[in-house]
Amino acid sequence: MNTVKLAAVFGENKPGHLARLTAALADAKANIRWITIATSEKIGVIKILVDKHEPACHALREHGFTVSQLEVLAVDVPDRPGGLHAVAEVLSKHGINLENASGFVTSTHRRAVLLFETKDPETAAHVLKKSGLHLFSQEEILTI
């Protein structure tokens, strides 16, 4: 099963926190490909996809951040009307719920990506593949 590794970082929602994180990543020469920040009042979780996953996690821990690793699914979505619908329909048909999903489009390659977490990634991956949809691997997602 192709999955994509994200680093999830615990954060107190206060000024300067993100800057310390990005400084640590810049020091480690890690390039951020995707980022999302979820907050609830004073706390938050920053999730990032970087080109050098292990060194980046290490650098963040060295800088005192609390880091957890997540494996998520990244679906290759056709960049055209109805593209995302095709994916959503497959998931809906199999009763699969998305959690913390987000999407982006790469203009250079005319492709779109839907990143999502779900309780049962095995099943989700299986049904998507059976429906002819492609899941990006870690290597692939870094090259698109």
Binding site: L6, A8, F10, G11, E12, A38, T39, S40, K42, I43, G44, V45, K47, G64, F65, T66, V67, S68, Q69, L70, N100
Partner: protein, 433 residues
């Protein structure tokens, strides 16, 4: 249960003989202060108390209390009962506000304090084969020096490491195979965290067996946390500078409360508001009278520490009664929205929740609001913000069940809250009352 004693005769003395000894020593102490200490002369005169009229230990109630304020007022040498050139050592007790309290020791006092520590260490099973890494602050604070002298008396190797500098502590532990440590609960937890971050398993890499933990009140949950994290048996230690420092009361191998050395200290438990004695076994403020102090005897000292006496005899055979873990300081009691709260209640709840890390801070702010900042444990972070929110709610609910008011709970990153090397400051009061 096979028990080792440092001073079997005294430690297992029959209660009646012990009480006779206490009465005799109390009389000597009263005679000494009546002769030499103007502070007590004046107090006795005010109460119309004749030291020679003391008939039994029950008459103790007729004696005046000595308070922290009295010791501050007597600073620097107002309570001295010997000539200055008979004093051998000075300690002061950290005053967070105003003047400190000065405590003088004569040669006999230094020796007695060391002797009590020797009893404590042997009671935990320590022998001369042990190596004690003394991680308390050396200096004006009694914690390290009094322990140091007592440990030397037992004949074990003492490493005067002092506090802080975890890298150095670790190096000493590795190179000299320290088996015992003496430290505060907050530093023990901090150090455990430090080892964890370095990926060092103390059970495999270090020779630690026992930790003597004192100087700050802590809970059974914290004890278990330290025991698990460092792979040691934790023995609770109670003392205060006004009463020599450590070695006033200490746990034996049974770990079921601290034997208070009653041939040196007369203990009472009183209601902190009225000063009236509470029935034995009931919680209240510990009041101590020194029975052997030469340089600076103190009568009925209001320790402000809340505890209770355990009446049942201990399996170890020692006849000196035990006190329970200090559950709070009369001075530490917080009043939030009209509810009386001891910070230890909060600690007990927090340390019983596995997702909680090793440090916390209570902030009182606004009109009368309580915020509890809680470090998350490294292992429990799974990257899901909703789990964090749920945990905050769970902690707030658990706290509400204990302290009857619902505080705001804020999670903080592991290791992000301030750690003190001396006594931990867990409460910050910013209220605009």
């Amino acid at each position: 249960m096979k028990t080792n004693y440092w001073d079997r005769e005294v430690e297992t003395m029959k209660r009646r003989a012990l009480e006779r000894l206490q009465l005799e020593r109390l009389r000597q102490t009263l005679a000494r202060v009546a002769r030499r200490v103007p502070f007590y002369q004046q107090k006795f005169a005010e109460l119309g108390f004749q030291p020679g009229a003391l008939k039994s230990l029950a008459d103790l109630r007729r004696l005046p209390f000595t308070t922290t304020a009295d010791l501050r007022a007597a600073y620097p040498a107002g309570l001295l009962a010997v000539k200055r050139n008979q004093t051998l050592r000075l300690h002061t007790s950290s005053g967070t506000t105003g003047k400190p309290k000065a405590i003088f020791f004569s040669r006999r006092d230094v020796n007695n304090a060391a002797d009590l520590i020797a009893r404590c260490l042997v009671a935990t099973g320590a022998t001369r084969d042990d190596v004690l890494q003394n991680m308390m602050t050396y200096g004006l604070f009694t914690g390290a020096l009094v322990m140091h002298y007592g440990a030397e008396k037992v004949g074990l190797l003492v490493i005067p490491a002092g506090p802080g500098n975890s890298e150095k502590q670790l190096l000493l532990m590795e190179d000299f195979r320290s088996t015992l440590i003496h430290t505060t609960p907050s530093y023990a937890l901090y150090f455990a965290d430090f080892l964890d971050k370095k990926g060092i398993d103390p059970r495999r890499h270090l020779a630690l067996k026992k930790a003597y933990i004192g100087a700050e009140p802590y809970t059974e949950e914290t004890r278990r946390k330290i025991e698990t994290a460092l792979g040691v048996e934790v023995y609770n230690s109670y003392g205060l500078s006004e009463m020599n420092g450590p070695g006033v009361a200490f746990e034996c191998e049974a770990k079921g409360g601290m034997h208070l050395w009653e041939d040196h200290f007369l203990m009472e438990i009183v209601d902190p508001r009225t000063g009236e004695p509470v029935p034995e076994g009931q919680p209240g403020e510990l009041v101590l009278t020194t029975l052997c102090r030469e340089a600076m005897p103190i009568l009925r000292y209001r320790t402000r520490d809340i505890t209770s006496i355990i009446r049942e005899p201990c399996a170890c055979g020692r006849t000196h009664r035990r006190i329970k873990r200090i559950t709070g300081r009369a001075d530490d009691m917080l009043i939030v929205r009209g509810v009386n709260i001891y910070p230890q209640q909060i600690e007990r709840v927090l340390m019983g929740i596995p997702e909680v890390g090793r440090n916390y801070l209570i902030v009182l702010e606004g009109l009368d609001d309580m915020l509890v900042k809680v470090e998350l444990s490294e292992a429990s972070f799974d990257g899901q913000v909703e789990h964090l929110v749920h945990l905050q709610t769970h902690i707030a609910e658990r706290l509400r069940a204990e302290i009857l008011t619902r505080p705001r709970v804020e999670l903080a990153a592991p290791g992000s809250l301030p750690v003190s090397e001396g006594k931990a400051k867990r409460v910050i009061d910013k209220r605009s009352l």
